[in-house]
């Protein structure tokens, strides 16, 4: 699953630690999501989208192409 967390975070001048604090996870988790090593659960993905004021599909995209 691809995501735009890094871009969205940079636009707001937030560090990984800032985002981690806002989402109530560790910085390691944010890094793992940004680098595609870990896919977040739906509740966490919705929480991230809500934090950025976007729809979930504007933050996370399915990598499978038809």
């Amino acid at each position: 699953m691809k995501n735009r967390l890094k871009v969205l975070r940079a636009e707001r001048d937030w560090t990984q630690a800032d985002l981690a604090t806002a989402l109530e996870v560790t910085r390691q988790t944010i890094n793992a999501i940004e680098t595609g090593k870990f896919d977040p659960s739906l509740p966490l993905a919705f929480k991230a989208a809500r934090l950025f004021g976007l729809k979930i599909e504007d933050v996370f995209q399915d990598e499978v192409t038809s």
Binding site: T21, A22, E24, Q28, A32, K37, F38
Partner: protein, 137 residues
């Protein structure tokens, strides 16, 4: 938002400290129950029973503290813990039963203690945590 998030960090830290205290208490009472019988009260059955009972009761507290700590972790940390525990449990079961079969077949000297299994599981759990943290670094 700021208050909520600092609460989460505070809770995580509190859970870790609580788990550490319960672990220390359990280890200490285990040592008392083990060595007290050998070096302090020797053949006094009542004192042995009390020491074992206290250790067991604190062990229950330790189990709940561990559960509480795990539930307080974020989802990636829980995944790392789950994978490490799965590794530890499966290595423990497979190794323990293999050793048991070898002992029944009289192919090894059957002198393994339960502590050997616990040490093996502890080591594999630590390796699992190390590998998990490295994978998701």
């Amino acid at each position: 938002m700021e208050k909520q998030t600092s609460d989460w960090n505070k809770n995580t830290k509190k859970n870790t400290i609580r788990l550490f205290r319960w672990t220390m208490a359990w280890v200490l009472t285990l040592a008392i129950a083990t060595f007290g019988r050998l070096y302090i009260w020797e053949s006094n059955t009542l004192l042995s029973l009390i020491a074992i009972g206290v250790n067991f009761a604190i062990g229950i507290g330790y189990i709940f503290a561990n559960k509480h700590h795990l539930r307080g972790l974020d989802e990636l940390q829980q995944k790392i813990q789950l994978e490490a525990m799965a590794l530890s449990l499966s290595v423990g079961i497979v190794s323990g039963l293999t050793y048991s079969l070898l002992a029944q077949a009289k192919l090894v000297h059957p002198h393994a203690e339960i502590s050997n299994l616990i040490i093996l599981m502890g080591i594999t759990y630590s390796i699992g945590i190390f590998l998990g943290n490295r994978r998701y670094k």
